[in-house]
C-alpha cells in the first residue's frame, strides 16, 4: 500500500470510527420524564444559525434561526444538564453565536418549534454537547 492509499484508508477509518462514536454518544439524562415533553417518534433535522445559548440547569438550550421557504424561523432545542456536559469536557464556548449547526433531535409534543437535541454538529463534522435527555437510549457513565 502506498502512502497516499494508506492515508486515504486512515481517513476512511477515522470517518467510520467517528460515525460509530456519534452513534454511541451518551445521552444526558433528564431531570424528569422525557416522554412527557418530547415525542421520540417525531425526529427532526434542523439546519440553522445559533442566536443564543443558555448554559443553565436543569438543561442547556440552544436557539437557532432556521431558513426555509417561509423565511427565517426561530427554533429552540434542549440539551443536557450543564454539570454533566462540563464533566464530559464541554463548555459554554464549545458553541458560539453565529455558528452554523445541524441538529438531529425529536420534536416537542406541543407542536411548538422546540426540539430535544440528540446531536448538534458543526459544518466540519464535529459534534458539540453530545447527548440529549432522551432516556430511551442507553446511558453510558
Amino acid at each position: 500500500m502506498d502512502i497516499a492509499a494508506h492515508t486515504h484508508t486512515r481517513r476512511v477509518i477515522i470517518a467510520i470510527v467517528a460515525g460509530f462514536a456519534l452513534a454511541a454518544l451518551q445521552p444526558v439524562a433528564a431531570h424528569h420524564s422525557f416522554a412527557a415533553e418530547f415525542d421520540a417518534n417525531k425526529p427532526i433535522n434542523l439546519k440553522g444559525t445559533v442566536t443564543r445559548i443558555e448554559w443553565a440547569n436543569p438543561h442547556i438550550w440552544v436557539y437557532l434561526d432556521v431558513k426555509n421557504d417561509e423565511g427565517v424561523q426561530p427554533w429552540q432545542c434542549e440539551g443536557g444538564p450543564p454539570n454533566t456536559l462540563t464533566r464530559n469536557g464541554w463548555t459554554k464556548d464549545s458553541l458560539k453565536v453565529g455558528d452554523q449547526v445541524t441538529i438531529d433531535g425529536v420534536l416537542a409534543k406541543d407542536g411548538s418549534k422546540t426540539c430535544n437535541a440528540r446531536l448538534v454538529k458543526l459544518p466540519d463534522g464535529r459534534s458539540v454537547f453530545a447527548g440529549s435527555s432522551g432516556e430511551t437510549q442507553q446511558r453510558q457513565p
Binding site: Q26, A29, K109, P141
Partner: protein, 257 residues
C-alpha cells in the same frame, strides 16, 4: 493496513464507546473505562467502614431493568392497588420532578448525577448533586422520629458488621420510585444496604417494602464508583426550567391533605 484489521479496529472502538472531548478522568476518544483507585476499604477512627467520597452512580430510570452496574427486578409483585396505580400513571399529566419538586430518596439515588457521602460516627449524609438536595441520617442507633410524612422520609441507620443499613419510613405518597413512574404508597419502607468491598467501590442494595403496593419485598442492586477527580456541583432545577414555564410539562395534581 489491511481492510479486515481496519474493520476490527472500528468494531473494537465502537464497542467500547467513544467519548466527547477531554472528559475528566475519561480521556477523549480512547474508549478506556475509568478505573477508580485501588486499595482496601478505608475505616473511620472508630473502626467503621468509611463510605465518604464522591460517587458515580448508574442512572436507573426503570428499576425493573438491568443496566451497567445495576441489576433490576424484572417482575414487580404488584398488589391490585399497586398495579392499578402503575397502569393509570401518565407522566404527561405531571411528573413532579419536572416541576422541580423533591425527587425523594429513591429517585435521587437513581439519578445519573453523582452524590457525595459524608460520614461521622453519628451521621451519614447524602449530598445529591441532582437539584442540590441532601439527606442527613442519624446512624447512632436512635429510633425513627414521629414527624410528618416527607418527600425523603425519615431515615435512621445501623451497622450489621461492615454493612451500613439505612432504614427509611414516613414517606409522603407524592413521589415515584423511578423516572418511568413505578408507584409506591405512604406505607413505603425503604431499606438501603451499603458495603464497601474495596477503596474504589460501594456495593449497594435498595430494598422496597410497601405492603400496599407490592405483595412482597423486592430489590435493585448497584455498584457505585469512587470519583476522587470529581466535585459536586451546584444544580438549580428552578433556574431555567423553561419546559415548565412554557407549558410543555405539567405540575401534577395532588390530592389535598
Amino acid at each position: 493496513m489491511k481492510i479486515h484489521s481496519a474493520a476490527a479496529l472500528v468494531a473494537a472502538l465502537a464497542l467500547t464507546g467513544v467519548c466527547p472531548p477531554s472528559a475528566a478522568g475519561q480521556p477523549a476518544g480512547t474508549g478506556r473505562e475509568y478505573q477508580p483507585p485501588a486499595g482496601p476499604a478505608p475505616r473511620t477512627a472508630s473502626g467503621k467502614i468509611d463510605f465518604s467520597g464522591v460517587w458515580q452512580k448508574p442512572y436507573t430510570p426503570d428499576m425493573t431493568k438491568d443496566g451497567k452496574d445495576q441489576k433490576g427486578y424484572a417482575q414487580l409483585p404488584f398488589t391490585a392497588w399497586g398495579e392499578a396505580e402503575w397502569k393509570s400513571y401518565d407522566a404527561a399529566e405531571g411528573d413532579y420532578t419536572g416541576a422541580c419538586l423533591p425527587f425523594g430518596m429513591t429517585r435521587s439515588v437513581n439519578t445519573p448525577e453523582p452524590m457525595q457521602i459524608m460520614q461521622s460516627d453519628k451521621y451519614f449524609a447524602f449530598l445529591f448533586e441532582q437539584n442540590s438536595w441532601f439527606s442527613v441520617i442519624p446512624i447512632d442507633g436512635r429510633p425513627h422520629g414521629h414527624g410528618i410524612p416527607t418527600w425523603f422520609g425519615d431515615s435512621v441507620g445501623h451497622w450489621e458488621g461492615d454493612t451500613l443499613v439505612i432504614d427509611t419510613v414516613n414517606f409522603n405518597d407524592k413521589t415515584r420510585l423511578d423516572t418511568i413512574g413505578h408507584p409506591h404508597s405512604d406505607q413505603l419502607h425503604l431499606i438501603q444496604r451499603f458495603t464497601r468491598p474495596d477503596l474504589g467501590h460501594i456495593s449497594y442494595e435498595m430494598i422496597v417494602d410497601d405492603p400496599k403496593t407490592f405483595t412482597k419485598q423486592w430489590n435493585n442492586t448497584r455498584t457505585f464508583t469512587l470519583r476522587p477527580d470529581w466535585e459536586i456541583m451546584e444544580y438549580s432545577c428552578e433556574e431555567n426550567n423553561k419546559s415548565l414555564w412554557e407549558g410543555r410539562i405539567k405540575v401534577p395534581k395532588y390530592k389535598r391533605q
